[in-house]
Symmetry: C2
Subunit: 354 residues, 2 copies
Amino acid sequence: MSEPITSKRGNFAARSLDLEAGRVDMNHGGGGRAMAQLVAELFQAEFNNPFLAQGNDAALLPSAAGQLVMTTDAYVVSPLFFPGGDIGSLAVHGTINDIAMVGARPLYLSAAFVIEEGLPLADLARIVASMARASREAGVPVVTGDTKVVERGKADGLFITTTGVGTVPEGIIFSGDRIRSGDAILLSGSIGDHGVAIMSAREGLSFNAPIESDSAALHDLVTAMIAAVPEIRCLRDPTRGGLAATLNELATQSELGFVIEETAIPINPVVRGACEILGLDPLGIANEGKLIAFCPPEHAAMLLSVMQAHPLGRDAAIIGTAGQDPRNFVRLRTSLGTERVVDWLFGSQLPRIC
Amino acid sequence: MSEPITSKRGNFAARSLDLEAGRVDMNHGGGGRAMAQLVAELFQAEFNNPFLAQGNDAALLPSAAGQLVMTTDAYVVSPLFFPGGDIGSLAVHGTINDIAMVGARPLYLSAAFVIEEGLPLADLARIVASMARASREAGVPVVTGDTKVVERGKADGLFITTTGVGTVPEGIIFSGDRIRSGDAILLSGSIGDHGVAIMSAREGLSFNAPIESDSAALHDLVTAMIAAVPEIRCLRDPTRGGLAATLNELATQSELGFVIEETAIPINPVVRGACEILGLDPLGIANEGKLIAFCPPEHAAMLLSVMQAHPLGRDAAIIGTAGQDPRNFVRLRTSLGTERVVDWLFGSQLPRIC
């Protein structure tokens, strides 16, 4: 602010962001020229779409047929970078998945950044580029955004909140309360990868094989599933709290009980080993690229084959069945033939995993 | 987590949130029963609407005619409570206003909370109640949300990101590039109140009269303005960076220059006095319940009278004119008849004001 401003435009053009050695400072969130520069040179340049380029307070979008769907998620994952992704790609995938889980087509994303003063601009640029790549690959543009900067020690590097809007044809309703006794429970692939990848990155652990987050956008898989089996009752992605929390929530919502087969649940052997070492239950660990589906039993084989034909459902399996249970328990039949109740934990085994 | 879980439901019902002496802990963001309890007893109870009550990953909403509009804002205001509002009401008003500024009708809000471990549940409850009140008064429900908790020292009490969705009839386009030379510039009321209220609360300053934030939802005022003068070219709320940043942004966007009259700009005398003491320029200070409007000169008198007839536009004034200027300067004609260029600051005079 000390240099004389001869022309705001000339001045603006003369100084570009130092993406190599620069750091975010309080000015980048101040609503002045520094913020305009960050928005133009980083966010607009990376997200690059006509809606964001409008530059007004809100993005003006085409009208959309069908019922609207809306979801929001704050991402506070620590560390910001981890094997298989970073906070940026995770924020895009997670929000797209929440839209997809109600059977809707994701159309638009917004992104709000709360940045801790001092964050290297190189880290921010890498995250925004990764976010933009995830958004492009999924075909869901980031159409509006916001940037705030807080003083050093008042945040943890970066938090990102993404909100998604989509549409779903009238009549499609996927919801926990539509699950019926006898429904088959399908899982799209191995569990625990995301949480264990974060945990390993955080603790500096390494295993004999790399563990990568499963972070991925599931809307394309969901489209294939709905096209083949419109009778699907409910979809859900087992994120925070893992399969255990998600199934317990759905048991409560459906007023049923579920029995799942331990041997049917795909778990990457390295993840299983890591869980044993760390004392974690894979059923309670977050996933970011998996879904569970409930459907009438007569459609389960068809749904399974459609899922297995998709790259994100290759390891899909039928893992259990819904049934009557006044206590709404989720029970696990173990490999030894015994049964245990799968707890709905009070909190989480692993904080800050998404 | 130490007590035995006999039945998740019995256990759940037996412990309710201690809204008087309790504090947010990491479990409240863990995706388990503690989070379900916080959502049910606080968020669902306060925001109380059928969309939020669906309890799925995304809210299923009615279909909406017209073009979609989407905006997002992260709120990091410090302190969380200030004269005239708090972070909750501010988040609702600010996002509604961004929707209103493109001429759209705000329909739905989402809210994502990043909470620092240790925040008193009483503070959170007060903020959520204030948010719910603002949302009810504006007629714009909070239909979906998310809660994350980060460790003590990794945030600053609470950050809230609100996203708004609305619709606008095809053909209505309010945008900075629609401003034409000769257009009148109108301001809906006094400037500087919000920023000075926050600054005073932060620094423990008191003046001979109380200074309150002007935080308010402007969509109803905008509806009246559009009904009377559909020829409006552009609306904008001068938040971060104040009138100075907003006018400079619009001068750049419209490729024009603006001349504003110092004596025409309403400023509360106590705010003016506070600015003199604190060395602040009222033109650079954030507002949260004001708007500026551009319209063809022949409609300015009509627009002014409609604004003045609304409680949120009582002190509205015509403050200047747009004209040709290859440098896109904003010039202030002072009470002494001299002229100065209104700078577009590099950052902001006051950080963390929204």
